[in-house]
Amino acid sequence: MISQFFVLSQRGDNIVFRDYRGEVPKGSAEIFFRKVKFWKEDEEEEAPPVFNVDGVNYIHVKVAGLFFVATTRVNISPSLVLELLQRIARVIKDYLGVLNEDSLRKNFVLVYELLDEVIDFGYPQTTSTEVLKSYIFNEPIEVDVARLPPLGPASMFMQGTKRMPGTAVTKSVVSTEPGGRKREEIFVDIIEKISVTFSSSGYILTSEIDGTIQMKSYLTGNPEIRLALNEDLSIGRGSASVYDYRSSSGGAVILDDCNFHESVRLDSFDVDRTLTLIPPDGEFAVMNYRMTQEFKPPFRVNALIEEAGQLKAEVIIKVRADFSASVTANTITIQMPVPTHTARWFCSFTSLVHFSLLCFLQVSFELESGAVGQTADFKEGAKRLEWCLKKAGFSSISFSFYCFFTFFVQIFNILLSISGSSWKNVLQIVGGSEHTLRAKLTFSQESHGRNIAREAGPVNMNFTIPMYNASKFQKGHDGKQSGTLNAIGQGWWVIDDLDRGSRSLAHLFRETRSRGERERERERNKNRRTPVRNGEEKET
């Protein structure tokens, strides 16, 4: 059973520390932090989530840059502890609205209160935000969200944040609106992680979608909610035909497998693909699903890296948005590691779209790696950059150093924000548009021609597409819906002032092929790998 639970900041300070069983000697937090910080076992540089030091098992997850750690001496189920830690983080987030170091420090008494009820003597008791409500008496001290650094693309690269938490709603489940009246709201979010691998000729090698339907409920009185999925949805296909794309020519969505939150009742699921649930308070995943059915990827990415002389190479990345122009993708980042000896780069960015802000942008930038003074300047210049620079390896003096294209995008950001535009616009890509990025790289060592392509890549891309299609959506559910739907934030939905009698949230699901028809969809974390290869290097 769990012996201790603690939360450490990125610098290793105890923010919360709770000893449940007194079996683990003092100083465990310090031992843990040192071990994680300087992990050097098995050639790996990153500590695994579970490890053992002197008979004490340290199990941790990283959430919002904080370490949530549990220690134990017994041979416990690792999955149980990891799920529990993740859940604790989410419960805390439900209560504080925002989960970060600042909010935790301000509300640590409330967190202690929660921990007291969540775990007793090392045994998990309850993690239901709703049940906990009756035991919690501290009022959350809200952190000023506006002052937080925006959860830009940078946050996506933080290790362990495979799934970016919903950012739009940062309200505590126990807080009340200034007017005293509580808003009846529920937010539904579909988050998909798309992984597509293209060969150099553009042929799709693998494609997979891992999706989650996430809800965040602020409804009172436990109303029942029905969630209708595509009626032609089917689940499960023979494992043998998982990669048999021919069979998927029909319009039906076929999920390989899915699982559900425990509150979901599947009584009528087989009949009309409806999930019935009484949503518990706070944020939770209604359903996780996985599909390998063929789908049209929303973006095409072409990457080319060419040698241009002894110490130089040029990288060209083209991104084409293969969706309708009425839809706009946000927070796009593209990253691609470049050869390790890259000393400087010079890049330009072109987008071929007639759109006010993105008409023609040509920005150039030059930076020398290892020049510590300049790095510091950047840190001062913009907070966001700091993280990126760290990731990019500026802080290390060695030449093992990857440049992420995120970095470029961020630089545009800064330049543009100086000229008064907001960064969100800059990072948008409108459907049908095409963008090209050229970067000239200079190497500090002589390169071996054929290796550049091998050392660079794969290209990785993250994006969010909120689809503003509310009117069509409403038509889809036959007037049963008496409230109004407002789209707010990044694809979160608000159902406001619902008639208590017939609350139903209908037809909310994705359909890969006819996207945007009657559903809104939000996609995130597209994960695309394009093995960059030169023509002559194709498979033998």
Partner: protein, 842 residues
């Protein structure tokens, strides 16, 4: 929490004051507020308490303010109370005298009107961990267990466990376990039931080593009655309690196949749960239940594949790591079943390296004729990965697949392409692999050597790679024109070579090269031997000296010794024994799977699950109950195999009688709640007087066995075996090697025994029940091999080691016994024989 004064190097920041002045300042302010009833007093108290708690969190000792905190705690503000409880719980153990101050107000709060306050106070009272305050705990706990509020009962149940850890005797004397047991079977609140269950489990697990009764109590937790009762309520439990229940069910030994299928059907929908812990716990139940049913076991694998893959894809990378570790275990056990799912194990860009590493291992394991090409192509992409450890790992994976003999031709080409990449670490890894490949497939030497010969030895720095290159230079010097000269230049730099491994290889390579091309190498060999003789490393020195003398003695003999014709290696040794792998599999859904080590390798003794023991007891009880008392209950095969004498001896007629008669179909339990509880009470009532009888029967049984079987041998009647004997495999192996065989005998096996031996587990469990532990077993029908050991109960720890080979087709068993004390081996053999005979062997 941490050492009292904060370390001086800590910079004083507003959030982390370090000096004592802050603490005394706090004390002063608290004292001023203590009696205050002013309107704002609670708010300022809150602020002060918060500061105290925050100091406590960062590790500053604020225990000096203990009495002030207690003085301030007389308040109706629940937030303040909670902070105070937290504080008190933290410091009471180090200040037992001060803790006494808190008892008063905690006890008062235990009688508060608000169930919340009662619960909180009870929890804090039990968390004080002060041994001499135990007397104050019993009454509030007793009241708490009967409280009307489920919250208080929930807290009280855990409180019993806390009390047990402070003072086991007090806890047991107050008869709390019995109360918990009835609460577990009757309470309407699922969380109370769950808490009772785990508290009882922990208490009996710890007590089982001390008393017979406790181990019997523990086995009743695994009885069909309780397991079914809890399974029927499983949907009421929250997900964490479900994990716990499933953990219990995994230990349950089903009576027959219907039992197995009932449980599996009931739990089927748990596989669709979004919580990975629930799914894994369910899978463990499924796997363990079907252990003896090969075809169903395989179906289980097919069934669990999809949910596991979905879990890998959902959740954070830490969660998918835990799931992936289990998938890894399953893949390693049955790679064939996963060979078509290889694309799921492709690494993704954003995967952390610990996930990638697992995936690479899985890809290696599932490679077969049909998918090798795709897998190797994918792995080759990773070789240029920016993540160097992963790049290395993937090159190794390619090599391992090549060694598995699939599509070697293409793979060798790829490996050779790696060498052309001219990246140091790629070259290094590839060289090691090419060396291994050549040892297995000498026919490829021609192609490989052509490429390897082009590598400049200056680019190879890593000792392993350098050693591999030097080995190849020596082995294939006849095909590499430059070999003697490369070796010569390497030998010239002898002093700069740090790794002894490389120098050793250099010596051998020089020798080999000398035999093939004497005139060119003679000088280099001389230099190598001279340098080797002067080397400070013992092994290098010895090898040089050995070679030198060998050459002096006779050159042709030396050639036969150093460079004999070699046979291709067919299989490289597997690093992990199958015994260890089985052990890990038995501990499915635990840290063992993540560490890839069985639990005894990383947990200390007192925290280890006494699993062998529990199974042994559970088995025994399961055998006896239905036979003696429940005629409408289908007898399992195993029961039929028990000889009549054992039924008479062990079927303790009354101990579990009333409970056993309550057996009925699983659905009955909910409805017959009331009757169940009354049964439980009667059962507990009976168990006490029943106990001495039970033990006497046990000893009688053993004496009886001795008399029965060892008629001829003058057995020392005092030989009793330690039921909890422990021996680690390493020691077993060493002992086995050291000791001489004291008894070796062939026996015949009865048809019943053969029927029962569908899996080795059947015999193992049976022998465990007779205090003979199995340390290793294996084999497929018809040949099974077992290694057992047992320990003498009294006196010095003397072990008996047994090797038992059973051939079911010829119905023969061969037993070899080795003993620390050879004189006692006859007696032990008697015990062993009688145990076997009860199983049907002999």
């Amino acid at each position: 929490m941490a050492p009292p004064p904060a370390p001086p190097q800590k910079s004083p920041s507003p959030s982390q004051p370090s000096g004592k002045s802050e603490v005394s300042d706090l004390k002063l302010q608290l004292r001023q507020l203590a009696g205050s009833r002013a309107p704002g007093a609670d708010d300022s108290k809150r602020d002060l308490f918060k500061r105290v708690i925050s100091y406590m969190t960062v590790g500053i000792d604020v225990s000096a303010a203990f009495s002030e905190m207690v003085m301030c705690s007389a308040t109706s503000d629940i937030v303040l109370k909670k902070m105070c409880y937290l504080y008190v719980g933290n410091y009471a153990r180090c200040h037992p005298d001060l803790a006494l101050l808190t008892i008063n107000f905690l006890q008062k709060d235990c009688h508060d009107e608000d169930p919340m306050i009662r619960g909180l106070a009870l929890r804090s009272l039990c968390s004080l961990r002060v041994p001499n305050l135990v007397e104050y705990l019993v009454a509030p706990l007793g009241a708490g267990l009967k409280d009307g509020s489920s919250y208080v009962r929930m807290v009280a149940a855990v409180g019993v466990l806390k009390l047990y850890h402070i003072s086991a005797a007090t806890c047991l004397d107050s008869d709390f376990p019995a109360v918990l047991k009835s609460l577990m079977l009757t309470d309407p609140d699922a969380q109370v039931v769950a808490n009772c269950l785990f508290v009882l489990q922990e208490i009996w697990n710890l007590e089982a080593n001390k008393s017979e009764e406790a181990s019997r109590e523990r086995e009743t937790l695994l009885s069909k009655k309780i397991v079914y009762y809890i399974l029927n309520r499983i949907k009421e439990f929250n997900e964490w309690a479900q994990c716990l229940v499933l953990e219990l069910v995994a230990k349950y030994i089903p009576s027959d196949t219907d039992d197995i299928f009932d449980i599996m059907n009931l739990l089927e929908d748990r596989l669709q749960h979004a919580n990975g812990a629930v799914v894994l716990a369910t899978i463990k139940v499924f796997l363990h239940l079907t252990m003896s049913m090969t075809d169903v076991h395989q179906q289980v694998y097919e069934r669990i594949k999809a949910p596991l893959l979905t879990l890998v894809g959902s959740g954070s990378s830490e969660q998918s790591y835990a799931v992936l570790s289990h998938l890894h275990l399953l893949v390693m056990r049955a790679p064939m079943l996963f060979s078509s799912d290889y694309k799921h194990f492709y690494c993704q860009f954003s995967d952390p390296s610990y996930v990638k590493k697992l995936k690479l291992e899985m890809l290696t394991a599932i490679a077969n004729e049909s998918n090798t090409y795709e897998i190797v192509t994918e792995l080759c992409e990773y070789a240029g990965n920016v993540d160097v450890p992963i790049a290395r790992e993937s090159i190794r994976a390619v090599g391992k697949i090549a060694l598995q003999q699939y599509d070697v031709n293409a793979i060798v080409d790829r490996l050779l392409q790696f060498l052309e990449m001219e990246k140091d670490y790629v070259t290094a890894e590839t060289l090691v692999l090419v060396k291994d490949l050549l040892r297995k497939y000498p026919q490829w030497s021609h192609d490989c050597i052509a490429v390897v010969g082009n590598i400049s030895s200056k680019n190879v720095q890593e000792p392993k790679a350098k050693a591999a290159l030097i080995w190849m230079l020596g082995e294939y010097s006849q095909d590499m024109p430059d070999a003697p000269y490369i070796l010569e230049s390497l030998i010239e730099n002898w002093d700069e070579e740090n790794a002894a491994e490389v120098r050793l290889h250099l010596l051998t390579a020089a020798m080999k090269c000398f035999f093939k091309r004497p005139p060119e190498t003679q000088k280099a060999l001389g230099a190598a031997l001279a340098a080797g003789l002067a080397d400070s490393h013992q092994d290098v020195h010895d090898r040089a000296l050995f070679y030198y003398r060998l050459l002096q003695y006779d050159v042709s003999v030396a050639e036969r010794v150093v460079n004999p014709p070699k046979q291709a290696v067919s299989v490289f040794a597997d690093t992990q024994s199958s015994e260890i792998k089985d052990r890990i599999f038995d501990e499915f859904n635990s840290l063992s799977v993540v560490y890839q080590k069985p639990s005894y390798m990383f947990t200390d003794k007192e925290h280890r699950e006494p699993f062998e023991f529990s199974e042994e007891i559970g088995n025994l009880s399961l055998g006896q109950e239905p036979v003696g008392n429940s005629p409408r209950y289908d007898e399992s095969d195993k029961d039929l195999l028990l000889s009549t004498s054992e039924r008479e001896e062990n079927g303790g007629p009354s101990t579990n009688g009333p409970a056993a008669s309550g057996y009925s179909a699983p659905t009955d339990y909910n409805s017959s709640l009331v009757s169940l509880s009354s049964q439980t009470q009667s059962e507990t009532a009976i168990s006490d007087p029943g106990m001495p009888k039970y033990t006497s029967q046990m000893t009688l049984a053993i004496d009886d066995l001795l008399g029965l079987s060892v008629s001829a041998a003058p057995a020392p009647p005092s030989l009793k075996l330690n039921p909890k004997a422990a021996l680690d495999p390493g020691t077993f192996q060493r002992k086995w090697g050291q000791l001489a065989v004291s008894i070796s005998q062939d026996c015949s096996v009865s048809p019943q025994g053969i029927a029962a031996l569908t899996t080795p587990q059947a015999l193992i469990r049976h022998m465990q029940a007779n205090s003979i532990q199995c340390i290793a077993s294996g084999g497929q029908s018809p040949n099974f091999k077992f290694f057992f050991f047992a320990q003498k109960l009294d006196g010095p720890p003397l072990f008996f080691l047994v090797e038992c080979i059973v051939n079911t087709s010829s119905a023969k068993a061969q037993v070899k016994i080795k003993a620390d004390d050879a004189t006692a081996s006859e007696a032990f053999f008697g015990l062993f024989q009688s145990a076997l005979s009860k199983f049907g062997v002999l």
